[in-house]
Amino acid sequence: MPVPFLGLLLVTPALLVVTLLFIVPLASSITGAFDVDGNFGIGNFQKAFELYSSDIVFTIVIVLLSSVLIGLCSIAIGGYLTLGNNPRAVSILKWLYRWPLFIPFIVVGQILRTFLAKNGLMNSMLMESGILTAAQTISFLDWRGIVIAFVWKQTPFVTLLIAGAMASLDRAMIESARNLGASRLRILVEIILPQVLPTLLVGLILSFVTMMSVLSVPLMINAQSPTMITASMAFRINAYGDYGVANALGVISLMTTSVVAWIHLRQTMREHR
């Protein structure tokens, strides 16, 4: 058998599964969004914006804010791992930051729900140590809880990627900048960061898409309105069996991610050619 056909034969089963179980349902979420009682129309979108526009804004703000915080935290941790002077602090940090890496979102939701509640362990500990009084405690189980959950879970992933990229940089340039007296912050911002920017971008885009798909965290941490559109979609289906509006919300989330997805696809395709 000629080699091109052998290769095609080997990838076909995997492609078939991805096409049938991802691409086809993805397409039917788009057609379903425009399906109003069997006819083509934009009624589902009107209804989605009417009922859930605050959820849409809420989702976008939360995911953007979380992405920014994840980016800043991972640059800080990755930067210290690369430029830290104290070997012991570097190895402690290296051991410490990765713990949440593979912890599933559903577990993150459960542990933060009990930790951040008004009478959860965090407030109890702050009260025991005399920092807060009982009257000053507040519950973080709203948008702040979701942001904390996302940052807690996704920072290690992005840090792992950019710390790897930082470690493979040419040390000579960093050392010479150091010898010339540049501060570590300046080296991080002006020399290291520009070189690892593509990796940082990939990590943040994958996190953005992941956060747009998570259902368990908003269901468990923020059981009130406004909430994230993933929770609204689940509610639309479970309570009303209303696939039209759910799919319209799905298309809105697809369009939100398509901007970042396009950047990701373009860059990754370029690297694999």
């Binding site: 095609l8 080997l10 577990v107 009990t114 362990l121 790897g164 989330s253 395709m269």
Partner: protein
């Protein structure tokens, strides 16, 4: 004492805060798992014990059934995903492919778009075929999710194999198949093993797809956790969460032993 001697203070403070942010919530989970009674305003549980563990893992308890279902689904998912990913990864890493761009695009799209709208519509399609609420339906959903990662890790693992070793085997007369089985596969094995573990964990932890396709007939550990947690039964939810947590953290510590840095750097790209 010079200013330099005090430099450890901000460093120690930052590490301490990070440790609190990471281990505070985890400690809370462990406390809940061994709590008998705990209510406001007590900072720590009033009574510790394992009666909930006995309840959760009793032979007739939901958790035992869910755990077995979860492990079975995860094993099937690994077999199917890795079985599909090995040939695909090898072809992507080693062979000339026509329409390479289209193939790459198809394999990248699942990473680039949120999967919740997809699961909603898979559930709708599966309903027509009677696959909703079946183990097979849940395995298929998990395979779609795991396959993409498995293909990328397998591609990275095969790319990292030195091509000259394969050529050497071929030049002393080994067939293509024999070269693959005796040379390429053993060298790529650690990466493939890592991809299997990763797919296993992803399947074990998967919530959204199972929620739409499997519930309420197929109950996995994440669904049990969710139901127990929303019922306010924090002990059972925390015990279930702990069961899911242990393999995740163990994998985090060993991942670099399986995946060399050069393979790891290619994952997810």
């Amino acid at each position: 004492m010079t200013l330099n001697d005090l430099k450890w203070i901000p460093r120690g403070l930052c590490l301490g805060l990070l440790a609190f942010a990471i281990f505070g919530p985890l400690t809370n989970l462990v406390l809940w798992a061994v709590t008998e009674r705990w209510y406001f305003p007590h900072a720590l549980p009033l009574e510790y014990g394992f009666t909930y563990w006995a309840k959760v893992f009793s032979p007739r308890g939901n958790a035992t059934v869910s755990l077995l279902t979860s492990v079975m689904i995860a094993c099937l998912t690994v077999v199917v995903s890795v079985g599909l990913a090995i040939p695909a990864g090898y072809a992507l890493a080693r062979l000339k492919l026509p329409l390479r761009g289209v193939i790459l695009l198809l394999l990248l799209i699942p990473q680039a778009f949120p999967n919740l709208p997809v699961y909603v519509n898979i559930a709708r399609i599966f309903y027509q075929f009677g696959l909703n609420g079946t183990i097979l339906g849940v395995v298929l959903v998990h395979v779609t999710h795991g396959l993409v990662y498995a293909v990328w890790i397998a591609t990275a693992a095969f790319s990292a194999v030195d091509g000259e070793l394969e050529e050497a085997a071929r030049s002393i007369g080994a067939s293509a198949m024999r070269t693959f089985v005796d040379v390429t596969l053993p060298i790529a094995a650690p990466g493939l093993l890592a991809s299997s573990i990763f797919v296993f964990l992803e399947s074990l932890d998967e919530f959204t797809g199972t929620y739409f396709v499997g519930a309420p007939d197929v109950s996995t550990l994440p669904l049990l956790l969710y139901t127990a947690g929303s019922g306010g039964n924090y002990q059972i939810a925390s015990i279930t969460a702990l069961v899911l947590l242990v393999p995740s953290i163990a994998f985090m510590f060993v991942i670099e032993k399986f995946l060399r840095a050069d393979v790891l750097s290619k994952v997810g790209r």
